[in-house]
């Protein structure tokens, strides 16, 4: 985030979760800053920008390794992997889970290690096997955090986007988020929005998805 804040260009966050009927599955989180790669290339050569320290490649790699180590300790989480592409400035994080709620524990673990902000929502995912109901949750409004940001940091978010793709074994019977769209086979659901629209509550990432039996 520190590095992103130094830019005036955009980036995209992609969240892909594949969920099986028994609640297990896999998740992939992507941060794609490729659109800003020339600026990032120049920024990476600086010590500080806007008074903030610019992390070196090795510092970033080290931090990602730390994240991996923390996530590996979370019960039920396996096959933890991450990739960092410094040519295109794309970072990805992969993991498998036996229950999607374990992703909440991942967030909690990272918060307790000081890797992400404490005021971010912990409870982000829920799944009920009985009801065949998956919930993408957003408990906390991002607006107060956004309002506290400097104008320069706010500018960075202007063109940034968020995409989520959730895939299931069975077709989706119903979903609550009207901005989301179903795939051709109806087993996938996609939501894409500008991050600023989510912050300003024009759009929400919340979604309650029920699959057919």
């Amino acid at each position: 985030m520190l590095l992103i804040s130094s830019l005036t260009s955009c980036f995209e966050i992609v969240e892909r979760v594949t969920l099986h009927d028994d609640g297990s599955g896999k998740a992939v989180f992507t941060l794609n800053m490729s659109q800003s790669k020339t600026k990032l290339n120049s920024i990476m050569k600086m010590e500080t920008i806007n008074g903030r320290k610019v992390p070196s490649k090795s510092e970033i790699q080290e931090k990602v390794k730390r994240v991996e180590a923390i996530v590996r300790k979370v019960s039920g989480i396996s096959k933890v992997k991450s990739t960092l592409d410094f040519e295109n400035f794309i970072g990805e994080f992969f993991c498998h889970f036996t229950n999607v709620s374990q992703l909440n524990e991942v967030i909690r673990a990272m918060q307790s290690e000081g890797l992400i902000k404490k005021d971010l929502s912990v409870k982000s995912y829920a799944y009920s096997k009985e009801k065949k109901e998956f919930k993408r949750i957003q408990e906390i409004s991002l607006k107060p955090m956004y309002d506290k940001m400097t104008a320069a940091d706010q500018k960075v978010l202007e063109e940034a986007t968020y995409t989520s793709v959730f895939k299931f074994d069975k077709p989706v019977g119903s979903y609550s988020n009207k901005s989301a769209k179903l795939s051709a086979s109806q087993t996938g659901i996609l939501f894409k929005a500008k991050i600023l629209d989510i912050i300003n509550q024009k759009k929400t990432i919340k979604n309650t998805i029920k699959t057919t039996n």
Partner: protein
């Protein structure tokens, strides 16, 4: 309300007219004095014109709960003064504004603040969170006091205050405070008590300042007003010594002991809201012979003519400087001796004498070869922003197929890239050549660039960097660093570029010049203004902005700089231009804000 009152005070202050009377309220030990001269400014606008602006009608006046500025009782025909003073660990900012109708003013204050007015013999006062608002029949003063952390308190003082605090708290609860046998104050409590003591001390200082301002005593602070130009709309004077004391005392006791006495420079500024431009003239006034010589020797030299051959006729912006590195380095040791020697702490301790300091600095001077440095960088040069161009760059993006499987795709976008040239004089071409070859020595394929040398031209090519090409060369006592292959060839082959007569004249006449073709710069970055709000903002800026030029040169003993901010479009003058632009931006923001609110409501 409070925020807008401060804004309003600022506006009032910026709208009053020159008067001799308030000058005499400025103590001679103030470190900053400023004045807005409304006798000049009032010729440039009418109150009706001001009240016509949307942001004033919708934000300022409703917040003041007034329909016009004229009903508040302020005298807009006399000057306002703001001064800052640093004493006994406090820094005070005092704003003085003349009153036209004290009854109107008092009614306004009572209506808006609903606070009890304290009536003293010479003045009336209300306490605001930000400071004290005090007035008599002639003028109003707003006094804000900040007590710095430089002066600490003894343990006894802290314990005494802690007991008082506890007594007050107990009294509020209807109890009686029983003294603790042995006081132990943790860090937090100690901090709280110290803050209480600071507030009390600040309050005491504020009271004493009020007495001074509203006494009949008249000061003669001539120094502060001697540089005032009668035609100027705004005037400011900074006594650097006092300013430095304030900064040092803010940093804390240990550091404030290191305060350096003996002001080297004062700064005076006169600003003029002219019809087609805003003009700001700033003078750096040296206070002793060493400082005079320092300024003269550094900025008294002329720029080498051949450097002007690479400015071109259509630069987007440039900055030139002509200084004498050798003279500056020579003189610097004298300045350093005087400066270090003046540090209060050193004088008080007496452990290190001026002779020790002189010896140390002369020793450093022996080690540093000023001539060699001056040969490398003689001290004159020009940086030119030739252009801002667009370049197409590729990036990775994602699309999703009908089953929402991710498919990577390569897209393109345009980026704005600066094209610049930096050319400066040298008298040691050989050493410069060696310096320019450093990228070749270090690289050897390990770094993300390639290095080539063709003839005398060095070329560094970066991969996927913001700047892709850098060319450097040494020729005819000059070094050029540029992003332009054509320009370096011209430099290498001794070709000359034409220069506008006006640019040539100001560069040659001044020790420093900075010139910006703002319209050209804004046109080049148009693509960066993406949203409809941003596009409208861009249009408003590009249609109304003129050329900005800042020049500086030695005049007598002083370094005098003149900044001219040109305006375009239909504006009565540069003062109302500022109001026009604020109103334009306000309306543009408001339009977008309304849209956002409507859109958000629709989602819910």
């Amino acid at each position: 309300m409070k925020k807008n009152f401060t804004l309003w005070m600022g506006m009032l202050w910026s709208m009053s007219i020159y008067s001799q009377n308030l000058d005499t309220k400025v103590p001679p030990n103030a470190f900053f004095v400023s004045e807005i001269k409304m006798e000049n400014l009032s010729k440039k606008y009418t109150m009706k014109e001001l009240e016509y602006y949307t942001f004033i009608q919708r934000e300022i006046l409703p917040d003041l709960k007034e329909e016009s500025f004229t009903t508040i009782g302020i005298d807009y025909q006399k000057s306002s003064i703001v001064y800052a003073i640093s004493e006994e660990g406090t820094t005070q900012v005092v704003s003085l504004m003349p009153l036209q109708d004290v009854v109107k003013f008092k009614n306004y204050i009572i209506k808006n603040y609903k606070k009890e007015v304290y009536e003293a013999e010479n003045y009336a006062k209300i306490d605001l969170e930000a400071g004290s608002l005090v007035w008599n029949d002639q003028f109003v003063a707003f006094i804000k006091t900040d007590r710095s952390y430089s002066i600490g308190f003894t343990d006894e003082e802290i314990e005494e205050e802690y007991k008082k605090m506890k007594q007050e708290e107990a009294k509020e609860r209807g109890e009686v405070y029983e003294e603790e046998e042995k006081l132990y104050l943790d860090w937090n409590t100690k901090y709280e008590v110290e803050n209480r003591l600071r507030r009390k001390a600040a309050y005491k200082m504020e009271e004493s300042r009020i007495e001074q301002v509203f006494s009949n005593h008249q000061y003669n602070a001539k120094t502060y007003f001697k540089e005032r130009n009668p035609e100027a709309d705004f005037y400011a004077y900074l006594n650097y010594d006092g300013y430095q004391y304030m900064i040092f005392s803010l940093l804390g006791k240990g550091i404030s002991d290191w305060n350096m006495k003996g002001s080297q420079y004062d700064i005076a500024c006169n600003a003029f809201f002219e019809e087609k431009q805003l003009k700001v003239v700033t003078e750096v006034i040296p206070n002793d012979e060493i400082s005079k010589n320092f300024l003269k020797k550094i900025y008294g030299s002329k720029i080498q003519n051949s450097l002007l051959n690479y400015v071109g006729t259509e630069p987007m912006a440039y900055t030139s400087f002509s200084s004498d590195t050798k003279a500056a380095l020579d003189q610097y040791y004298d300045v350093l001796k005087s400066y270090v020697g003046s540090i209060t702490k050193i004088q008080q301790d007496g452990f290190i004498t001026q002779e020790h300091i002189n010896l140390l600095i002369d020793g450093i001077a022996l080690l540093i070869d000023e001539e060699a440095i001056a040969e490398l960088f003689t001290g004159d040069g020009i940086f030119i922003l030739d252009d801002l161009t667009e370049r197409e760059v590729e990036y990775t993006s994602y699309r999703y197929d009908e089953e929402y499987n991710r498919v990577e795709e390569i897209k393109t976008k345009n980026e704005i890239i600066p094209e610049f040239t930096f050319v400066f004089s040298t008298e040691n071409e050989k050493f410069m050549e060696r310096l320019l070859k450093i990228p070749n020595i270090k690289n050897k394929g390990r770094l993300p660039y390639t290095y080539n040398m063709t003839g005398k031209i060095h070329h560094i090519k970066f991969k996927e960097e913001y700047i892709e090409d850098i060319y450097t060369a040494v020729n005819n006592g000059m070094v050029m660093i540029t992003t332009s292959g054509d320009k370096i060839k011209a430099f290498d082959q001794n070709h000359k570029m034409a220069i506008n007569k006006s640019d040539k004249k100001i560069i040659k006449k001044n020790a420093m010049v900075a010139k910006f073709d703002m319209k050209k710069m804004l046109n080049a970055v148009e693509g960066e203004f993406k949203t409809s709000k941003d596009k409208k903002l861009w249009k408003g800026l590009v249609d109304n902005v003129g050329e900005y030029t800042i020049t500086g040169k030695i005049e007598g003993d002083r370094l005098v700089s003149e900044a001219l901010f040109g305006i375009e479009g239909k504006h009565k003058n540069s003062l109302l231009y500022l109001f026009d632009m604020i109103d334009y931006i306000y309306q543009n923001e408001k339009r977008e804000h309304v849209q956002t609110v409507e859109a958000a409501d629709a989602v819910e």
